[in-house]
């Protein structure tokens, strides 16, 4: 990790205490180039400063993390988002991923793990927590009854390959990418590309369960 340049990180969270806590944990390892505590200011400053990684709180007034994702993507700049939340609810996780975040971690993540996740996002990788892997397996489970009467719009997007499934299972079992590579005797890069492809499916697939989770969140 030390060989890559220090990523420039922007913090979005409406709780001062949480921001202070995160700052204290990651300030050693990354450059924090700004903070915001509300949606409009966050969008403006992110577009202006173009950080490598935005740490984004999912639950905020005025539309929450999704509103920030939307606002920044409308400005047509390429910024990578890592969503942070206290919630483990499927609809929270899935909706923020579908809105464009490249990873999701819960706020009780340890400092070193968070730094590691930030570096991976900055390098263009995807951060899948075991919990998120579980949600994806659930949503793409072939035997799902509600999928039976649901036409497969795009088999390319609406199904996981055998390998992707294996990788997700191992993530859910608590394996690191390195462990997974060893277990499946493939390279870490290949593991990463599998996970990236799962993320793409997660964002674009029209599988019932996924869109259902995403809209559930919007209704709340």
């Amino acid at each position: 990790m030390t060989d890559s340049p220090r990523p420039r990180v922007f913090l979005v969270d409406d709780h001062e205490l949480i921001r202070a806590g995160i700052r204290a944990e990651i300030a050693e390892a990354v450059d924090i180039i700004g903070e915001a505590d509300e949606v409009a200011a966050a969008v403006e400053m992110i577009v202006e400063r173009l950080p490598d990684v935005v740490l984004l709180d999912v639950h905020m007034p005025a539309g929450g993390g999704q509103a920030v994702l939307k606002g920044v993507s409308e400005a047509n700049v390429c910024v990578r988002f890592l969503a942070l939340s206290v919630s483990d609810a499927a609809n929270d996780v899935i909706s923020v991923i579908r809105a464009g975040a490249r990873g999701y971690v819960t706020k009780n993540i340890s400092g070193p793990d968070l730094v590691d996740a930030i570096y991976r996002i900055a390098a263009g990788d995807v951060v899948f927590s075991p919990r998120l892997a579980g949600f994806v397996l659930d949503a793409f489970s072939t035997g799902a009854a509600d999928q039976a009467n649901q036409p497969m719009v795009d088999p390319e997007l609406d199904q996981l390959t055998q390998r992707e499934r294996q990788v997700l299972r191992l993530i859910a079992r608590g394996y690191s990418y390195k462990d997974i590579a060893k277990e499946l005797t493939i390279s870490t890069k290949t593991v990463e590309s599998h996970v990236s492809s799962v993320l793409r499916k997660l964002q674009l697939s029209s599988r019932y369960q996924l869109s259902n989770w995403a809209t559930e969140r919007n209704l709340n």
């Binding site: 483990d88 609810a89 009780n108 075991p130 919990r131 579980g134 397996l137 035997g143 299972r169």
Partner: protein, 422 residues
């Protein structure tokens, strides 16, 4: 009136045939209008229906029954309430004035009717006008609870079959009653002089009258219905809030107090906070799991997470995919998984344990993994052999597979897989 007897009436409420109960109160649960008949039934220990028939018969005698009913409605105290309606009215000076003015107005109206000699409905005019006055007084003096009951009654009045118009039986009843009434009406008109004879203008007049009444009353009625639904919504919101407050009070505040007390002991604080966090999370995000924890596979595995974090202070990262109703075999699998998790919590020295549980169509699997010290499978210390055996034995008993993947320094994973029929 002794207080205690009043209380006993409140709790029993219903008429018990053959056992008279004191004192005389208007019924609450067994009421249609004001609960007078129900009250008498409870007091005398006879069936409500008999009293109702008696009052109906009395009504035929120049509306006498209505008058008696209204008088009792005003004078008798409703079960569970402190004062009668008339007492309530006279306790409030303004209400008393309003009702008194209305009473004088009613008397003047009656005298005027009498002197001008307008013969309205024969002997029925006096009791009916007085009864309407009494109803007005009831409306003014009723407690908010009783008034809500009356509003509901008034709202459902235009619809035979009750408020629940979605109820199929209610709809059938309403349609049948409507058709019968229409036939009866047409027949009556026909007997006057043929529908297309003299009755035609009468029919026309009736339609105009009905439309007029609708125009007159519909807004009021609709508004009432709307108010009722918004009131109901408000009540649901208040109840939800109350539930939330109760939960926060019962668990979160208690835990915070405990944390304050245990502030010196780091591991205690962590354990308490984690416990509370998990509980609150579950309460917020998977309430159905809390409700039927032991009847689902996910619920059983969740219990492992709870116990390990509680008893050993080790963080458990639990991921589940799918769910099923646990049979004996699945329960054995979970028990073996629990042994594995306890094993990891006790010996691995790892700060966290990952548990992954998946239910597929053909199998149920459970993976318990730690990144702790690991061990040499071929040289298991004696105290661990027992646990390894108990895991293996449990799984062998139900025809499942156990794989233990470990090496010194690289953590341990116990993999439990059970084939599943159907």
């Amino acid at each position: 009136m002794e207080k205690e007897e009043g209380m006993s009436i409140t709790t029993s409420g219903h008429a018990v045939v053959g056992t008279p109960q004191r004192p005389l109160r208007r019924g609450r649960d067994n009421s249609i209008l004001g609960g007078v008949c129900g009250g008498f039934a409870t007091r005398l220990g006879i069936k409500e229906r008999n009293i109702r028939i008696m009052f109906s018969l009395l009504t035929l005698v120049f509306g006498f029954g209505v008058l008696v009913y209204m008088t009792f409605w005003l004078v008798l105290t409703r079960s569970g309430e402190e004062t009668s309606i008339i007492q309530g009215i006279f306790q409030n000076r303004r209400e008393a004035q309003v009702v008194l003015v209305a009473f004088i107005g009613t008397l003047i109206l009656l005298v005027a009717l009498q002197t001008t000699g307008v013969d309205t409905t024969g002997g029925f005019a006096w009791p009916l006008v007085l009864a309407s006055f009494a109803f007005f007084a009831v409306w003014r003096g009723a407690s908010s609870d009783e008034r809500a009951h009356l509003t509901e009654l008034l709202n459902s009045a235009p619809l035979i079959g009750g408020v629940s118009a979605t109820n199929r039986r209610g709809i059938v009843l309403r349609v049948l009653a409507g058709i019968a009434l229409m036939f009866f009406g047409l027949h009556t008109l026909d007997s006057i002089g043929g529908v297309w004879g003299a009755a035609a203008p009468a029919l026309f007049g009736t339609v105009i009258l009905v439309v007029g009444l609708l125009v007159l009353l519909a807004p009021w009625w609709l508004q009432n219905v709307r108010e009722l639904t918004s009131e109901r919504r408000e009540r649901v919101r208040v109840e939800e809030r109350a539930r939330m407050v109760a939960h926060l009070h019962d668990s979160v505040l208690q835990t915070l107090t405990l944390i304050e007390r245990a502030a010196g002991n780091e591991s205690d604080v962590v354990r308490l906070a984690r416990n509370q966090e998990r509980e609150l999370r579950q309460w917020l995000f998977s309430p159905d799991l809390v409700a039927n924890g032991s009847t689902s596979f996910v619920g059983l595995v969740g219990a492992i997470e709870h116990d390990i974090e509680n008893d050993y202070g080790v963080k458990v990262e639990l991921v589940t995919v799918g769910d099923c109703v646990p049979d004996d075999k699945v329960t054995a699998l979970v028990a073996a998984g629990r042994e594995a998790a306890i094993n990891a919590a006790k010996w691995s020295e790892s700060a966290s344990i990952s548990i992954f549980a998946e239910v597929e169509q053909t199998s149920v699997s459970l993976f318990v993994r730690d990144r702790g010290v690991g061990f040499d499978l071929d040289a298991i210390p004696a105290d661990r052999q027992g646990i390894a055996l108990s895991i293996r034995q449990r799984m062998a008993h139900v025809g499942g597979d156990v794989t233990i993947d470990t090496a010194i320094g690289s953590g341990t994973e116990v993999q439990l897989v059970l084939a599943r029929q159907g």
